[in-house]
Symmetry: C2
Subunit: 125 residues, 2 copies
């Protein structure tokens, strides 16, 4: 794991440690109320929409490894490997903007394909 220091990076890492450590309520304390998240399925407006998107993923996490984390005062990028209950190989990358210690913008990139395949496989019939 490689990292450089910066205020935004500290917040990104604190958020990352919280949700990968199983404390999603703590993770949400780093999310600004009116944040915007650009996720693969589209734009999420506000912390509550973000929670509905991210909490199920966090709850299904079985293992994670931080691959890289870099940032400066305003922006940070984190890439991680993750294993979840439905999908064993689910890496992700986040680019966050931070203001006053909270994440105000997040671009999250991950592959939805294996999650869709897992969902299809779990369907009856």
């Amino acid at each position: 794991m490689t990292k450089t220091r910066g205020a935004a990076l500290d917040v990104a890492l604190a958020y990352h440690r919280a949700w990968t450590g199983g404390d999603f309520d703590l993770a949400m304390t780093y999310i600004e109320e009116h944040m915007v998240c650009l996720a693969p399925a589209g734009r999420l407006d506000g912390a509550e929409a973000f929670r509905r998107f991210m909490a199920p993923f966090a709850q299904s996490l079985t293992r994670s490894t931080l691959l890289a984390a870099f940032g400066d005062e305003e922006t940070a990028v984190v890439m991680y490997d993750a294993a979840t209950l439905p999908v064993e190989n689910a890496p992700g990358a986040e680019c966050v903007s931070v203001r006053d210690g909270k994440i105000v913008h997040m671009r999250i990139v991950f592959d939805r394909a294996p999650f869709e395949a897992a969902r299809r496989a779990a369907m009856p019939g």
Copy 2:
């Protein structure tokens, strides 16, 4: 776009500029012959396998924006927005390890779901 300096970052950015600028042969000069790429579909071994994976994506690129780029001497992370002929919204993130000016390892994260949907939509019948 946010970036910090570092030898690995310089190489990651030179590679990025080359392939997004339409010069894939130049991009490949930054790829080490025995490199390993961990892509959503699995592991690619060597520059030739990497070229077969990445060249079609690069050739279909219609627009791109660098969102963030950070790195140090050995590692860099780049996140970008991309539009391609089959998929309008195709952001990606790459974490690269660099040795002697060439990329020896790349982890690339992107969402295959819209590409699979475009492929299905293009199928006859």
